[in-house]
Symmetry: none
Subunit: 464 residues, 2 copies
């Protein structure tokens, strides 16, 4: 069907639905893994694909913004001089797909099963990126214009912590002035109930290597008289949490604000079923700080997680090796009030101070840290977006937070003075960052409708 | 030169030295890697080569002993009815040669450089296997007989833990009755000073997996409220040793005999340079149980070593995963008095008992365990062999132990009632099990002389 035969953006989206779905799958097929240096070409290929798609949607000034890392795709439509400007954020890079053997269908071949499209990046974040762009195309194609000014900022290195985002803002900040950032990255709690996220945790990263000898040794010839780096690493990592499961690193909790009565009221309004949540995860018990609820722990409390730990022989059978090295990767999730650099340094200092005698430790501070972010509860964009979602879903919207990190929120606030509200149609059960990531086909349709409606709704947002 | 023109075994060995050296290299060229299923044919080719060489040496009843694995080559000379019977042990299989890129010359092309013959198996154990056989040939060729009865037992699966050795003893134990086992496998501490090993440690193996959830999770979405299996594994492994670096597993030390005054005297007689040893290892300090010397810890004390430990993301950069599984492989080195099965069970029970709440543990007990072994210090064979070595080297012999495991020692003792004394001319620095394994040409000549002399020396050994 020819797009020009329809007259409203929503009708156009319905009429072109199959083509849009295929285009979205085309984007998902590009293995744009930003963490892997040998995949830089694929990240670039995804950037080119997105830029071309921006031009096709009718955006102007489509260009790559670059500060030495993976590029960001920028485009704009600025034809409404009296209306506010919305900066639309999303990212087209994805997490590594490993372990590949746990995927039911190939990680980069989108496969529809039971209304779910399985592929790495299908949910995080290529679905809502594509939706945000399709809604722009729908408006410009059917109406020749958008109801408000729109700038898109589609990033290529979110999954590695946006290491050059600050550099891009330094170089291209002038391009990016706006009244609000609407983020297509984020996620809702449920596939069939709307929520709006009012904050997210920050992050900092580090990794370390312990060494105890110059080479791997025979465990018979040397075992008992040379320190085993794996046992040493175990003892060291065991010092990072106390018996109360709190992080035992000095100064770790500096600046963390205590949960308020308003926080508790918001948490209480979330339809959270702890038993269902546990069973969805396949875990037997809730873990963590005493006297705090699950949502409080996930949204308002900082963490220290070991993301990887390894050394010695991992193959079939046994190898009687006394290895000479042990390795671990750590990230901390941060809450408002914590400084990512200070937390990173506190953890590094702890590791150095607790390194067992007989081992040397080298700690590498990771880049890409980000502060936590929260929006003022009375920000006018919140009510506007809640209204759009309540219409689309036909039910009340509640407020959530994101336990993960949207680094751009803190950076946009600090550099551009912009508040950010996410409007993603991914839901937390879609296994992003894990094997068999998927996106619900039904969310694709709800997302298209909501994004088609959010541009006119935000046209009345007060300008900054 | 024709062998028949000489009149003593030692003279015959000198006269045939070049031919023997070439034959030894022929054996080394066969890549008899027992660990690789696709090399079974090469292990068989080595067995055939050894069997043919046994026939040529003048042994009778040469045959393959088989219990479903790689075969053992057996042969005998039983022409001295009043003399004792010596069972000569060696193995013709070798470790894998990988990583191949670290070899200076090809792993299976024996190459002489600076008096060292480089090749996989050149030292472990084809050198002394060949020497033991050449000395038999020297005696039978020059004298028409050996001074004592000799049975050879050349194994083809030592490097994979002798999985069918017990089966071979079950089937063919009658063939193997003897008064002493003289092992061509083992090793001396130094290339220019003789020693005799009077014991070796045993081994038991196990591995475990900790699980905390049904799948890998996003560390932002779940971190802080679901137990991290890597932190849990660290805490669990940290419980395996106390602050005093002793193994903290209940009943672990059951049956371990305390170091005696005689042990201390033997240890003190070893020319051991702790500083040189540490610097050879590239370690900064000696680790382990307090108030014990390095040699005591390596030879007379049991250990628990983590040989491998892993979980989560190990690649480049970072991945914000909260993994659902963690894994570790453990071996224990055992000393006389410890039962491998009981130690294995004690460690498994400790792991089960200390498994953190929120995790499930599955422990897999490994096969291939072996008890420790020691020979009585006043065993008459010891003085005899020490005498032979002191003559050949022209200096006093000291007593050592092996921190690693020679499973056959305990098995021969238990199944055949046989004590074992090693008389290998490999030395600990010859990188067996590593790239660029080598054997010293000078050790070849010393070995031939010593093995030519040990058969008559043992002819006076009391029969059992």
């Amino acid at each position: 069907m020819d797009a020009r035969t329809t007259d409203s953006p929503e009708a156009w989206l319905r009429a072109n639905r199959e083509r849009l779905w295929e285009e979205y799958k085309e984007l998902v097929r590009i293995p744009s893994v930003s963490a892997k240096p040998d995949h830089a070409g694929e990240v670039r290929r995804a950037a080119d694909w997105v830029a071309e798609r921006c031009r096709k949607a009718g955006l102007d000034k489509v260009q790559m913004l670059d500060a030495g890392g993976h590029p960001t795709v920028y485009g704009e439509w600025m034809g409404a001089p009296d209306a506010p400007t919305i900066l639309v954020y999303a990212h087209f890079d994805v997490q590594p797909a490993e372990p590949l053997e746990l995927w039911t269908s190939p990680a980069f071949e989108p496969t529809l099963r039971d209304g779910r499209l399985y592929a790495r990046g299908s949910s995080d974040d290529k679905a809502t990126l594509f939706i945000s762009l399709a809604a722009i195309e729908a408006w410009i194609t059917t109406s020749g214009r958008l109801p408000c000014n729109v700038k898109v900022f589609y990033e290529g290195e979110e999954e590695i912590g946006s290491p050059t985002l600050a550099g891009i803002l330094d170089r291209h900040g002038d391009l990016l002035s706006a009244d609000l950032c609407l983020s297509a990255d984020g996620g809702m709690m449920f596939p069939d109930r709307p929520d709006v996220s009012v904050g997210n945790r920050g992050i900092c990263k580090l990794e370390f290597t312990l060494r105890t000898a110059a080479k791997d040794l025979h465990s018979g010839s040397f075992g008992g008289a040379i320190l085993n780096p794996l046992s040493a690493m175990a003892k060291l990592i065991a010092t990072l949490h106390g018996d109360d499961d709190r992080v035992a690193v000095k100064n770790f909790y500096d600046g963390v604000r205590e949960t308020t009565a308003q926080d508790r009221a918001e948490l209480a309004s979330v339809p959270f079923d702890e038993a269902a949540w546990l069973s969805g995860v396949g875990a037997s018990v809730v873990w963590g700080e005493r006297q705090r609820t699950v949502l409080e722990k996930l949204w308002l409390r900082p963490t220290l997680e070991v993301n990887g730990m390894w050394g010695g022989y991992q193959g079939e059978g046994s190898k009687t090796v006394l290895p000479c090295e042990a390795h671990a990767k750590i990230t901390c999730r941060l809450v408002p009030g914590q400084d990512p650099r200070k937390v990173q340094e506190a953890v590094a200092a702890h590791l150095q101070a607790h390194c067992p005698e007989g081992a040397t430790i080298s700690v590498r501070l990771g880049g890409g840290g980000a502060a936590a972010y929260e929006i003022a509860p009375d920000h006018p964009a919140l009510a506007t977006i809640e209204g759009v979602l309540e219409d689309v879903y036909g039910m009340p919207c509640f407020r959530t937070r994101i336990g993960g990190t949207l680094p751009l929120c803190a950076v946009f606030k600090e550099r551009l003075g912009l508040d950010t509200v996410p409007m993603s149609f991914s839901t937390g059960d879609e296994d992003f960052h894990a094997p068999n990531e998927f996106f619900r086909e039904a969310s694709f349709d709800r997302g298209l409708t909501a994004w088609a409606r959010v541009y006119p709704a935000l046209a009345t947002l007060p300008r900054r």
